[in-house]
């Protein structure tokens, strides 16, 4: 009986100590007006700016056409091209010599060359060939533009065959995209930004909390209080966790309301992912805290983790395209798993069953990084 009472008392004491520490941390963080602002304003501004800026779709392509053919067929092709919604500017080239400088100076992304035999070939039933020259300085843009042009030529072919009572090639492709039916690259990018911004805030808030005290000399005072060090660490990790949860929710809400991202899956599954993700981010933040003496080191240390973590997460470039060795590295990146969760829940409508393989690695990373941080604080070298 006595024992239970005593344990209950201890638990109450523990709770009140942790809560007091957490409140102190929140106050330290939110006291300063500019720190307060930095937690709320920029993430939303970034979501809006980058949400619109980061797109792999091309809307305003400038192209040039060098048409040596005088026939009706080539005019039909040109008007089909100029009618494409993705093409904004169409420069007409008169001499071959103009082509090089148009591409060199980045006036146009591509030049389509229609030779003088084009209409004649077509009307006599032969295949006509057109040449496409693309600026490869950004090879991805070039490939996307190439695909657009391919589609236009395909449409032209279908129409041409239909008008001549011929049905075209013996086999055709009918394609459909799942989950993102019209292939908006914005859906992909925005879901990535949700993970990116949440990681930034949780990491920086946590990494700086210890460094700030250490620089001001109050960390040693905190350590000599009768509160156990593990409580101090829990108190230090709560603000990052809560602010991350709050900010993550706001950003996801904006993604749905403002950018009309579909939310098709299970919200509890999403939040379990967010929670595990934040735990691992806070763990890494505390590790950075443990080795930095100054705030400058903490910010730079956070950054040093952040940049490779974002690049290796599949945020902008697919993980499957990386060499095998680099793909192994991505397995220790918590953002990798969280991005899969966000994208699966939002677009693919996934629930707990499909996401199990994302949860447990994040849980492992969280346990490891939190334990490591605790160890590093106890065995601090400087």
């Amino acid at each position: 009986m006595e024992l239970i009472k005593e344990t209950a008392l201890q638990v109450r004491l523990m709770w009140s100590q942790i809560v007091a520490l957490a409140i102190k941390e929140f106050l330290a963080l939110l006291r300063d007006k500019s720190s307060r602002f930095i937690l709320i304003g920029p993430p939303i501004a970034q979501l809006l700016v980058f949400g619109y800026a980061a797109t792999y779709d091309l809307n305003d392509i400038s192209i040039a056409i060098y048409n040596e053919d005088r026939g009706i067929a080539s005019r039909g092709l040109v008007s089909r091209i100029s009618g494409s919604p993705n093409i904004n500017e169409l420069v007409s080239v008169q001499h071959e010599s103009e082509i090089a400088s148009l591409i060199d100076n980045r006036d146009v992304l591509l030049v389509l060359h229609i030779n003088s035999e084009f209409s004649k070939d077509l009307s006599s039933g032969r295949s006509a060939t057109v040449q496409l020259l693309l600026d490869g300085r950004n090879s991805n843009t070039a490939m996307i533009a190439l695909n657009y042009m391919r589609d236009i030529i395909m449409q032209f072919n279908t129409q041409w065959s239909a008008e001549r009572q011929s049905q075209g090639p013996p086999a055709i492709i009918v394609s459909r995209a799942w989950y993102n039916e019209s292939l908006h690259s914005r859906w992909f990018i925005i879901s990535g930004i949700v993970g990116l911004l949440t990681l930034v805030v949780a990491l920086v808030v946590t990494a700086l909390s210890v460094a700030r005290e250490r620089e001001q000399g109050t960390f040693d005072q905190l350590l000599v209080t009768p509160v156990p060090p593990s409580y101090i660490l829990i108190g230090k990790s709560l603000p990052g966790l809560l602010i991350g949860l709050l900010q993550g929710s706001v950003i996801m809400l904006l993604a749905v309301v403002w950018f009309e991202l579909p939310l098709r899956g299970s919200i509890p599954a999403l939040y379990l992912g967010l929670f595990l993700f934040l735990l691992s981010a806070v763990g890494v933040g505390l590790m950075i805290s443990a080795i930095s003496v100054t705030q400058q080191q903490a910010v730079l240390g956070a950054f040093l983790f952040l940049v490779p973590a974002v690049i290796l997460s599949g945020f902008a470039t697919p993980i499957v395209n990386m060499p095998e060795v680099v793909q192994w590295l991505t397995y220790i990146d918590p953002l990798r798993y969280f991005l899969v969760i966000v994208r699966s829940v939002f677009m693919e409508g996934a629930g707990f069953d499909l996401l199990w393989h994302q949860y447990w690695p994040m849980a492992l990373i969280a346990i490891f990084s939190l334990a490591m941080a605790g160890w590093m604080f106890r065995h601090r070298m400087y």
Binding site: D32, S35, P42, V49, F50, Y52, A54, T55, L58, D60, G125, T129, Q131, L133, D135, G136, R137, N138, S139, N140, T141, M143, L146, M149, M154, F156, N157, S161, S166, Q167, G168, P170, A171, I172, I173, V174, S175, R176, A177, W178, E181, H184, W187, F188, V204, T294, Q295, Q296, Q297, V299, L300, G301, F303, L304, I311, P318, V320, N321, M322, V326
Partner: protein, 380 residues
């Protein structure tokens, strides 16, 4: 104009700053380690080029025709096909993320294909499903599938002795990057990112610390003149940035065999100009923000992330909505990325370089004026 005393003061300050950089492991990490890590990640790790895309091929009734088509997928570098007997199995694999696309040849494929002539019969259908979550990858995948289909169609028609059934065919050539390797445009742009890191982020943090601790005012009341003071603070970072430029360009040419076609003096000159703009921004951030926490966050938000996303480094600027395109005009990395991609891959194309240099000069002027104005205000 510069007298001996002034030169001595400047030298002392430069030495103090350099020592401070060398003594702090975090500045070393940002200035030396992160650039190398970035270079390796971008040069070796990250790629937008889809290769070995896992696709599932569903053949409901295997025969010579389906075999020749799946053979074309096997031969393509872009695909690693796996085979399914029913569409349900394949769709399951697509849902689980094991494959990125499905090529579905129904049981009537061969019958339609072989009985088809341009005037009668039904076209055989190749039904394609792709996972659209990563829309860029999905678009590229669809493009490659089309490529395989075209090649196969040509072979098929030739084998049957009929003229190719497609009226217009397109040949394409990609200038400056014939192998269409994304590394060749990512690595040059990376130089701008690394220099932004050193010029803006590192400088903002370091100078903010001096403000934070009050040592800035202490330095200012010494006999140093304002100009000397700012020059002394920034010279070490300037050289650090230029060193990173040289090292990055050297490594990208030697290790990642990115071709460099322009002239080197132009690279150094435009690099120096860009470095000055970055330093001005770093200084401005440190003056305007009141603490290191804020300076660090602001530097990441207004210099590093825009250099990544708004500069044309990965995402095409012309495709952004107009208000955002206007914002990109005050991102210095935008101009330097354009210069770098041109110098590396296309050579000294003067119209491109001069236009971007002019823009950088204007930005330098604007940010320097802002620095001058805010320094005075801050000290009062």
């Amino acid at each position: 104009m510069i007298d001996t005393a002034s030169r001595q003061r400047l030298r002392a300050l430069v030495i103090k700053e350099s020592l401070q950089i060398m003594r702090d492991p975090s500045s070393i990490a940002i200035a030396f380690i992160l650039p190398i890590v970035l270079l390796f990640l971008f040069g070796y790790g990250v790629s937008l080029d889809a290769k070995d895309i896992p696709v599932g091929i569903v053949v409901e009734q295997p025969d010579a025709a389906t075999q020749s088509l799946s053979g074309s997928f096997e031969q393509s570098d872009y695909f690693t096909p796996s085979y399914f007997h029913s569409i349900q199995r394949a769709e399951q694999a697509l849902t689980e993320g094991k494959i990125q696309g499905i090529v579905w040849l129904k049981s009537n494929f061969a019958r339609y294909l072989l009985s088809y002539s341009p005037v009668s019969g039904t076209q055989a259908v190749i039904a394609v499903r792709v996972n659209g979550v990563d829309s860029n990858q999905a678009n590229l995948t669809l493009g490659y599938i089309q490529g395989v289909w075209l090649t196969w169609l040509t072979q098929f028609s030739q084998a049957r002795g009929v003229e190719m059934a497609l009226p217009v065919q397109m040949e394409h050539r990609v200038w400056f990057n014939p192998a269409v390797s994304s590394r060749l445009f990512l690595v040059p742009g990376l130089v701008a990112i690394i220099m932004t890191l050193i010029g803006s982020l590192l400088t903002a943090m370091v100078v903010a610390r001096e403000w934070d601790r009050g040592t800035m005012e202490a330095l200012m009341v010494t006999s140093l003149r304002n100009v000397e003071f700012i020059a002394g603070k920034l010279i070490p970072y300037f050289f650090l940035g230029m060193a990173s430029l040289v090292v990055t360009v050297f490594l990208s040419m030697v290790i990642f065999s990115v071709p460099y076609t322009g002239s080197f003096w132009l690279l150094l000159l435009t690099g120096a100009l860009f470095m000055l703009v970055s330093l001005a921004i770093g200084l401005l951030i440190s003056i305007v923000s009141k603490s290191q926490f804020v300076a660090g966050q602001v530097a990441i938000i207004v210099s590093f992330l825009p250099a990544f996303i708004l500069s044309g480094f990965i995402f095409d600027i012309n495709s952004m909505p107009l208000p955002i395109q206007l914002i990109t005009h005050i991102v210095p990395a935008r101009y330097f990325v354009a210069i770098l991609q041109t110098l590396f891959l296309a050579g000294d194309i003067w119209p491109v370089i001069l236009a971007n240099v002019a823009a950088l000069l204007i930005l330098l002027l604007i940010f320097s004026l802002l620095v001058a104005k805010n320094t005075r205000k801050r000290l009062e």
